[in-house]
Symmetry: C2
Subunit: 235 residues, 2 copies
DNA sequence: TCACTTCAGTTATAGCATGTAACTGAAGTG
DNA sequence: CACTTCAGTTACATGCTATAACTGAAGTGA
């Protein structure tokens, strides 16, 4: 935001990159990842083939940037939720926001949470991005008082907090709790449990696997979140 | 099984088809779906390019058959579970079998439950296949007595049972219950809830999204199944 | 102002993929 | 033994990714 329009050249470059990405996202939405072809994108924006390689080193690089952007957008959507209510109301709101974002652009969601793009695998960075999305869940679960059944998972979370300083910092940022505070491990456990549950419903829904089923994901997801809230005794 | 070796020609054809599919599956496991290239498969098994089109009309057709086979294999793996124990023990066993199959061939699992192959979408058939996988879950949840929180979803299941005869038949096959028996809707609700929860954990794990996380999916999944068993008051 | 650099964009080309067409020859069939 | 069926071939059309070599205009410093 600071150095937005340094030089005309850079501004133009940034604009063209954006145009390419927007075309790519549109093609992704219309025909899946196979439809994202540099040649056709180039033709669409009035360039000829190899010109795109000035802007993206390869097709995979372009896709990787779409993934990064999508994570950012999902994180923004989740962060935009007002956690004022706290407790299970906030958890419901987070899950709903997550779902709404995913269903508004199912192809993008499947791109980031579904099958990893073959060549491209950025484990470290992916984890980082996922954490940005899960942050607000930490906040909500920090006030949880888990039932005894959750004990093994809380223990694993506590161990992780002890071993990984980056995780400890992440949890502290969203909960204000130090790594050795009992609430930290609880928050971490809640987030790491809520995430696969939400993804389970949303991922199947985005992939169209619920079509033909009689139950509505809009009923199922809140219900699962409620069960989870019960397990963590959220107010 | 009946007309296995009708004519030598057909037997040869079947054998070649199998060879092609095995090569495709191997390539899928090694380099993802992009690595499944007819030309390279042909070269590998000593044929030259277009010959494969005698056996599969197109690449998509080959992939579609991989999907079908994979569903079958997953259904077999789940059906092989001994439900003698009943109750939550059986639920745990089912989820564990589902997970074990998926992790033994993550690329295949992502192929059937992840991003749908672009061109190819067979909603009706896919639903059918998914049902075959979920059958044993119905059996387990038939003896459930859901907590009041599950009421809305049970109602949706009951409505679905009333409207869709095929679903009613499916449920009856796995539970022995008629569509209007209260247990039928409960079983359906349980299966349709357990499925996304299991998929949520397994899908993320297969996609490698748990690497770098401190919690082990092997801990998380049984725990979630236990919560679910509680909600259905499984013995 | 003018040489010099930087860089967007071009055409040409290599390589590999899917898929079709037309042909060849051997295995099955009445 | 004529005839059909069909696996497999080569040749080719098309479309994609990616690289190489060139062109020309926009920026840059003395």
């Amino acid at each position: 935001m600071a150095d937005r329009a340094r030089t005309p050249r850079e501004r133009y470059r940034e604009q063209t990159r954006g145009e390419i990405k927007r075309s790519a996202v549109r093609r992704l939405a219309e025909g899946g990842v196979e439809n994202v072809a540099l040649l056709r994108i180039a033709k669409e924006i009035g360039l000829s083939g190899p010109a795109l390689y000035r802007y993206f080193g390869s097709r995979d690089e372009l896709l990787a940037e779409l993934v990064t952007d999508a994570y950012q957008a999902l994180a923004d959507a989740v962060r935009a939720v007002d956690l004022g209510g706290g407790g299970r109301a906030s958890l419901q709101a987070l899950a709903a926001a997550y779902r709404a974002w995913a269903l508004a652009q199912p192809h993008l969601y499947l791109l980031i949470q579904g099958t990893p793009v073959p060549g491209f695998e950025a484990p470290a960075e992916t984890v980082e991005r996922a954490r940005a999305v899960l942050g607000p869940f930490l906040t909500v679960f920090a006030e949880g008082r888990p039932t005894p059944a959750l004990e093994p998972l809380v223990a694993e979370s506590a161990a992780w907090l002890r071993e990984d300083a980056a995780v400890a910092a992440w949890v502290e940022r969203w909960t204000g709790l130090a790594a050795d505070a009992p609430g930290a491990a609880v928050a971490l456990t809640g987030a790491v449990t809520a995430w696969p549950q939400t993804h389970g419903v949303v991922g199947l829904e985005a992939a169209g696997q619920f079509t033909g089923m009689g139950q509505r994901p809009a009923t199922l997801l809140p219900l699962q979140m409620n069960l989870l809230a019960d397990a963590f005794r959220l107010p």
